[in-house]
């Protein structure tokens, strides 16, 4: 069949429409495109037990970002590893082909690999690996729809799924991202804001232990902006952790009913 793709029509149009000046994304009164104030998070919806076949799972929706995470195990490790008396955490993140504005390709992209690494690093410190020696816990995430702040949503959702699977953890990991547009700090940025940002900050922490498990910063930051950004993220993480806690509580009370 001689069918060949001429152009990806949606690609050009979407990208061009997203690249705008920072002025378009935040009004002088400090209102963002979607009506939020700069330090306001997107409406979040969390739910555990989204996938029945998994040992534990969670679904998270932060604005337009939608993510499912399944946890399997602890189960026998895939390949023979060197002698080790702690368990292994195996993380994998993938995008659905329709997650973005342009159709993705099957097969693991570098972005998926990087996200998988980041997910691992964010969770590693929170999971009590010594409680499942010689076995593996698999954490698999599927991003159904990418709408900005994908990684932090995956991280929070994954820690919920781990809790749902009954994996021993020191604390829940909550994560949030922040975009800097000029000197404006926009908490929990959308995709449009992320594309135009001058700097970004992603923070994952164990809120009740007051420990940062993952931190990612890009762009040039002054000390003042940096301190403020960190504080904003920490506060937001604490709030998010509260929401995650109540989600877990609800799910257990549902079972009792």
């Amino acid at each position: 069949m001689a069918a060949s793709r001429v152009s990806s029509y949606s690609l050009e149009s979407q990208r061009v429409s997203l690249a705008r000046g920072s002025s378009a994304l935040i009004s002088p009164e400090g209102v963002r495109e979607d009506g939020r104030s700069p330090h306001e998070c997107r409406p979040a919806f969390l739910q555990t037990g989204a996938v029945n076949a998994a040992a534990g799972s969670a679904y998270a929706e932060f604005g337009q970002t939608k993510v499912i995470v399944s946890v399997f195990g602890p189960r026998e490790s895939k390949k023979a590893q060197a002698y080790s008396d702690i368990g292994r955490l195996n993380c994998n993140v993938s995008f659905a082909t329709f997650a973005g504005s342009v159709r993705g390709k099957a097969g693991q992209s570098t972005e998926e690999k990087e996200y998988s690494q980041m997910l691992y690093k964010g969770l590693e410190g929170a999971v009590a690996l010594h409680t499942f020696p010689k076995t593996t816990v698999d954490v698999f995430a599927l991003i159904l729809q990418s709408g900005g702040g994908d990684l932090p949503v995956v991280l929070s959702c994954a820690s919920l799924a781990l809790a749902d699977a009954g994996i021993v953890m020191y604390d829940l990991v909550s994560a949030i991202s922040l975009s800097r547009l000029d000197t404006n700090l926009l908490l929990d940025a959308t995709l449009g804001e992320e594309i135009n940002q001058d700097g970004s900050l992603m923070l994952a922490c164990m809120a009740s232990r007051n420990e940062v498990t993952q931190l990612l910063l890009t762009g040039e930051w002054s000390q003042a902006n940096l301190s403020e950004g960190l504080k904003l993220c920490l506060d937001a993480c604490t709030k998010l952790a509260g929401l995650m806690r109540s989600t877990l509580k609800e799910s257990t009370s549902n079972i009792e009913d």
Binding site: S4, R5, I68, S70, A96, F98, L142, L144, Q145
Partner: protein, 306 residues
């Protein structure tokens, strides 16, 4: 409950679970003898079925189907292609069934599940034999441009009867698919309708539209036991009985295809006929659910347009 009784019931639970694991077939047969299935439904009934369309704003058409625990999410992404010389006024639909690692403990990331190509092929067959979509509907400018629809069905939760759920999601996503309004130049370049018209003199606008659908295919998988036929089996039932027959029909019960890939139990003619009958009954049931879901979505559409 006293503590003692509680302990006893826990003991029973453990025993039951052990029986279920050690003698799965006997466990199942005990239920079937009483005319119920382990999840509590009567022998001949399918699980509750939910269809919702338009759940993915990035996709031009999308649908989510829940069949008991089995969950499917289908999304259609459109791209512009040059039609083949043989069929200058036809577009293409490329169907792919995906089982990401999240859906089942048996799937590993990076390794294709055995079922992925099987279900993909069956959906493709069903689409082509039912002629649900006339590919000429995807035409933009004959010989120059046509829509290529990438239809990806993701299994989000795998609990048996994957083909049934996946085919339903495929059909619903195609029913939800809305071809966007575009403008076409003389040489077949396709531009978003909103783009600057002054620059290109010979622009022809093509209105946004939904596809006209022909017969809508559906599938009913039946797990076969020498004595019983279990429509819409769960993953556990599929694993225990090891034999399934999938009947592909349209909603009116008109048969397209009968699919039985091996298995431990032979299918006699009467078994086959029983499966046909079950599929016919199921077709009526599904038609209602399908129409409600799709019509609801279209009504929403109309409201937005008003």
């Amino acid at each position: 409950m006293t503590e003692h009784e509680h302990a006893a019931s826990v003991g029973e639970d453990v025993e039951l679970e052990a029986f279920r694991r050690l003698y799965p077939l006997e466990f199942l047969e005990k239920f079937l003898k009483d005319g119920v299935r382990p999840d509590g439904r009567p022998l001949g009934r399918a699980r509750s079925t939910l269809i919702s369309v338009g759940s993915l704003p990035h996709a031009e058409g999308s649908a989510m189907v829940k069949l008991g625990n089995t969950t499917m999410l289908a999304g259609v992404k459109l791209e512009v292609m040059t039609p083949s010389v043989d069929f200058p006024d036809e577009g293409r639909i490329v169907v792919d069934f995906q089982m990401p690692a999240i859906c089942s403990p048996h799937v590993r990331p990076g390794r294709q599940s055995e079922l992925e190509p099987v279900v993909s092929e069956q959906i493709r067959n069903a689409l082509s034999s039912s002629m649900m979509v006339d590919l000429r509907e995807l035409n933009i400018a004959p010989g120059k441009a046509a829509w290529m629809a990438y239809l990806d069905v993701y299994c989000l939760d795998s609990d048996g009867s994957l083909l049934d759920a996946a085919l339903l999601a495929t059909a619903a996503a195609l029913a939800d698919l809305k071809l966007p309004e575009v403008a076409v130049t003389d040489d077949g370049k396709v531009l978003p309708a909103s783009s600057d018209v002054q620059e290109h003199r010979s622009l022809k606008n093509i209105q946004s539209k939904r596809l006209k659908l022909g017969k809508i295919p559906m599938a009913l998988t039946c797990a076969v036991h020498p004595k019983y036929i279990l429509p819409d089996p769960t993953a556990e039932e599929e694993a225990i009985l090891k034999t399934t027959i999938t009947v592909l029909t349209d909603f009116s019960g008109q048969l397209f295809s009968l699919y039985k890939p091996g298995g431990e139990v032979l299918a006699s003619t009467s078994t086959v006929q029983d499966c046909f009958a079950l599929a016919k009954y199921r077709g009526k049931e599904l038609q209602k659910i399908f129409n409600n879901a799709v019509i609801d979505a279209e009504a929403d559409d109309a409201m937005v347009e008003d």
